[in-house]
């Protein structure tokens, strides 16, 4: 065996803290190492060709690269190996940058550590075994989870590329949060006017199949071959028969608070989510329906001329195969009643910005009028409070919800335009307007009269006057003093939060959530759309707070990732899979229940013992299913189960080298 060691300076990143000459010199003395060299930038073309030449000149068959994290450049070096006709898994990386030079300051000690890390990599690579990946077919159908603007966009893009898409939405209509909005910043386009055409396009697209009032119940499989169970909730209305006339809704005697209007209006037990709903077919909310509670009523069925009402409908489990999954599950707005100082839920005139948005919306509960919920009169003085539950480590979410600055500016503008004479005060900590034309929009809001006061509000309390106004106690950083404003209406810019079931769904999909419950991308900068699970892509706010254009761009990005996968038509299987040494395996199958991918099964092997043929059970690994976690290998008593790239022998060698 001829191992070559290459030590990278990474410019000054490694060289400043690690004595690369000493590391190289020491490497030359390590067992089986026949060549060692230090290079300024190994990842550069020059560095790569240096390795290539050394492989040729010194007939190297294993390479150890001491450089940055393998998570950074492992594939770069693996490709080089392949180009040189060597197995990609004959290269081993010693992480002397992220795990050494960047985290230490004492050059002497860092050098000792770097030498140890190289020694460890040399020991490991000495026992490396060649690994290959298989080509697996891809099911050319995508699943988009979530029918908000991000989900719709992703579905449309994939469908336009000619691939079938299933779009799953938990509500009875697609549209998501954007359907609730009145206008959109910074152009003040009417939200419905730009969203509705997209909804209709999605519903009528020949490549898109909608599953509304449905949820993902189970996911198995892997990139290219996901097996997804969709739970289609019973709508109790036959969509084939229903013509959307709305008679059932009119006649339904049961009224319940309308979630779409944040509870500020009533809807019926049989309802369509909003007037422009797609599909525009009502559903029966069984929790509230009188018929389902008592077995009596049945008015909707009586009045329906097409006989579309079907009380006997059952929830249905639909199983489908997909090649790629786009997650666009969006967010929820935090109900800010946990922050007692803002009196939300205690005073009727303290509302959330979404409630204001609904009021401003012409199809909303007040048909576009802004009123004080306490008395129905027009407010004159309105106080906006920013960062309610956002950027709050004490009693909220530590992150910035990103869109509140702009939508509050939008609200002040809309109020000023629609109702001249109203005064808008905005208490803020920072105004963040990073985005195209956003600063100009904020400027416009100020010029139109929105009065920004820098300082967070500490208390909102009833003023106790005849109008039942509220007193907002804050501080103006400019004037350097406490200020109090008697307001008619207080609007709280509440925090965007991950969906409460994000973690459950993430668990099914094999993607992780960050500390705040948003899905984690594969790389913060360079792979913001992909996830750790291959074939699962992110779109929209499920990944973190975003505005509409950002969500739409990410959705298109996610769509393209799926399209690339489908165009390729094949995926490479994980090369570092578990493998069974059949000679050692007893076939005890203790490993079988450990495997999260059900990749382990039992097979019979025939062997000859003393001239006689004998059948014997052993474990076997389905390489297409195995993702290479090694949980089975960690358990195997006899050491028959091993993991490619991380064999017991290799890991033992690493441990022994230290």
């Amino acid at each position: 065996m001829r191992i070559g060691v290459f030590v990278c300076w990474c410019g000054s990143n490694i060289k400043n803290t690690v004595d690369v000459d000493a590391v190289t010199a020491r490497a030359k003395t390590m067992p089986q190492v026949v060549y060692a060299q230090d290079v300024q930038y190994l990842c550069s073309e020059v560095g790569q060709s240096e390795i290539g030449q050394a492989i040729d000149t010194h007939r190297l068959d294993r390479v150890v690269v001491a450089a940055c994290s393998p998570r950074m450049h492992e594939t770069t070096f693996q490709k080089l190996m392949a180009a040189k006709g060597l197995n990609p898994y004959y290269v081993e990386i010693a992480n002397i940058r992220e795990h050494c030079s960047w985290v230490h300051t004492d050059k002497e000690k860092a050098t000792v550590k770097a030498i140890d890390l190289v020694k460890k990599a040399v020991a490991k690579t000495a026992f490396a075994i060649p690994l290959t990946s298989d080509q697996l077919p891809v099911t050319k159908r995508a699943l988009v989870i979530g029918g908000g603007i991000a989900g719709i966009q992703a579905a449309l893009d994939i469908a336009d590329a000619g691939y079938p898409v299933d779009l799953v939405e938990k509500e009875s209509s697609i549209g998501g949060k954007m359907a609730q909005f009145d206008k959109t910043f910074p152009t003040l386009d009417c939200s419905a006017c730009i969203l509705t055409p997209k909804m209709v396009e999605a519903a009528t697209h020949e490549n898109i199949r909608l599953y509304t009032y449905a949820e993902v119940a189970a996911v198995s499989g892997y990139v290219g071959n996901f097996n997804v169970t969709i739970k289609q909730k019973a709508t109790s209305v036959n969509p084939e028969k229903c013509n959307g006339c709305g008679d059932c809704v009119t006649k339904c005697p049961k009224k319940v608070p309308n979630e779409f209007d944040c509870g500020s209006s009533k809807r019926k037990a049989v309802y369509t989510l909003f007037p422009q709903a797609v599909p525009n077919k009502p559903v029966i909310d069984r929790d509230n329906c009188i018929y389902f509670a008592t077995g009596k009523c049945g008015l909707c069925a009586k009045v329906c001329q097409t006989g579309a009402i079907e009380y006997q409908q059952q929830d249905e489990m639909i199983e489908n195969q997909y090649g790629a999954i786009v997650v666009a599950t969006g967010y929820e707005l935090k109900v800010p009643d946990h922050l007692g100082e803002y009196a939300y839920g205690q005073h009727p005139d303290v509302i959330t910005s979404l409630e204001l948005e609904r009021m401003l919306n012409a199809s909303g509960p007040t048909s576009g009028k802004v009123i004080r919920p306490s008395n129905g009169k027009m407010p004159r003085r309105i106080v906006f409070i920013q960062c309610v539950g956002s950027r709050d480590r004490h009693d909220g979410n530590p992150y910035c919800s990103k869109v509140c600055c702009l939508y509050t500016a939008k609200h002040t503008l809309l109020l000023n335009e629609k109702f001249p004479g109203t005064e808008s005060y905005v208490f803020y900590m920072d105004v963040r307007t990073a985005g195209k034309n956003y600063e100009e929009f904020y400027e416009r809001a100020r010029q139109q009269g929105a009065m920004y006061l820098r300082g967070q509000v500490s208390k909102v309390e009833p003023l106790g006057d005849a109008d039942n106004r509220v007193l907002v106690r804050g501080f103006d950083g400019s004037l350097q003093r406490q200020v109090e404003i008697a307001a008619d209406l207080v609007v709280l810019a509440t925090s965007m939060e991950a969906q409460p079931n994000a973690k459950t769904l993430g668990g099914m999909l094999g993607i992780s959530t960050d500390l705040n419950g948003f899905y984690t991308e594969a790389h913060a900068k360079l792979r913001p759309v992909e996830t750790q699970a291959q074939g699962v892509y992110l779109a929209g706010v499920c990944h973190g707070p975003k505005d509409i254009p950002e969500a739409v761009s990410q959705a298109s990005g996610a769509a393209v990732k799926a399209i690339i996968l489908f165009n390729k038509g094949q995926v490479k299987s994980v090369p570092t899979t578990a493998m069974v040494e059949k000679d050692r395996c007893s076939g005890c199958m203790q490993c079988q229940p450990v495997c999260p991918y059900e990749a382990i099964s039992q097979e019979m092997v025939v062997e000859r013992v003393h001239g006689k043929e004998r059948q014997r059970a052993v474990a076997t690994v389905n390489r297409a299913l195995c993702q290479g976690c090694g949980a089975c290998a960690g358990l195997c008593r006899s050491g028959a189960m091993d993991l490619g790239g991380f064999t017991s022998r290799q890991l033992m060698a690493e441990v022994d080298s230290l």
Binding site: R584, Q590, C591, M652
Partner: protein
Amino acid sequence: MQSIMASITQSIQQTAAALLAAGEVDLVLGYTRGERPHQSVPFVATTPAAAAQLHWDPFCEKALAPYLMEESYQNKRVAVVMKGCDARALRLMISESRVDREKLVVLGVQCQGMIPREKLEAAAGEPLHQLTLTWQSEGVELTGRKGSQTLSYEAVLSPFCLTCQHATPAVTEVDQIIAGSGEKALVKGKNIPPKEAFSDIETIEKMGAEERHAFWMQQLNRCIRCYSCRNACPVCTCRSCIFDRENPDYLDAAKNQPAQHQFYHVIRAFHVADRCVGCGECARVCPEGIPLHLLNQKLIQDLTQHYGAFTPGVDEVPNPLSCAGAHEVDPFGKEAKK
């Protein structure tokens, strides 16, 4: 009156003879009297006549299940005499594809508990060869040169048998139950909690860390790594043992290194952690008298305490170490938060 031991012996002999005579099995694996006094050893009867040598008494400790994996038993129809613990081990072996149940006729014995010979000798105060034993209902009557005395079974039985909940193999697991007539149980209601039977565990737990270490060093330093514990264990059923492996060498040839002993015994305990049937063979066969079973029992107690009761060879697989989930205790979460 015929003692229960004699009646079981007779029943085993008759059954074995009948099976062999009818050609239903090629051989019967059971026990016969050993050369030493009050000792029973494994015995294979291949003819009805030989079946008369089969024997049963409370000295049939040796677990027979591992023999079934041996080469000479392959492709043969075998009838095997099984105690409760053996039958549990057998069931594990079947579930782990180590033996083929189809080829077996399992004769489950209504086990009365096993008596360690040393314990008996110590209790009797006389060498075993001087003693004649009579199985009475209230205890064992010892007649020796010093006279005669009756010892309660609790005083002489193995602690493993005192805690045993499955002395008689489950009817569903065997082809035939061999029940003796007469007094049924040596121990009335064997329900001594493991904590009492293995009070050593608590004693050790109460020691300081250094003392514990010293205790185990003293014990393990005697280990000569003869692998008797492994070989006798009815659940050590691997086709090839990692300790025999040369590359990577989990153990090296040096047999005087405490670290190597620790390594061996920790790993051994782990390999049987969730599969130990509590027969106590490991400790019994140890030529150095190392209380190995304490490690097994400790792991069983931990598993039971934190992850719920699981009886290997009785409860359905998966075994506790083969499954894990979100609902389980997280002893590392809180600590990590600080």
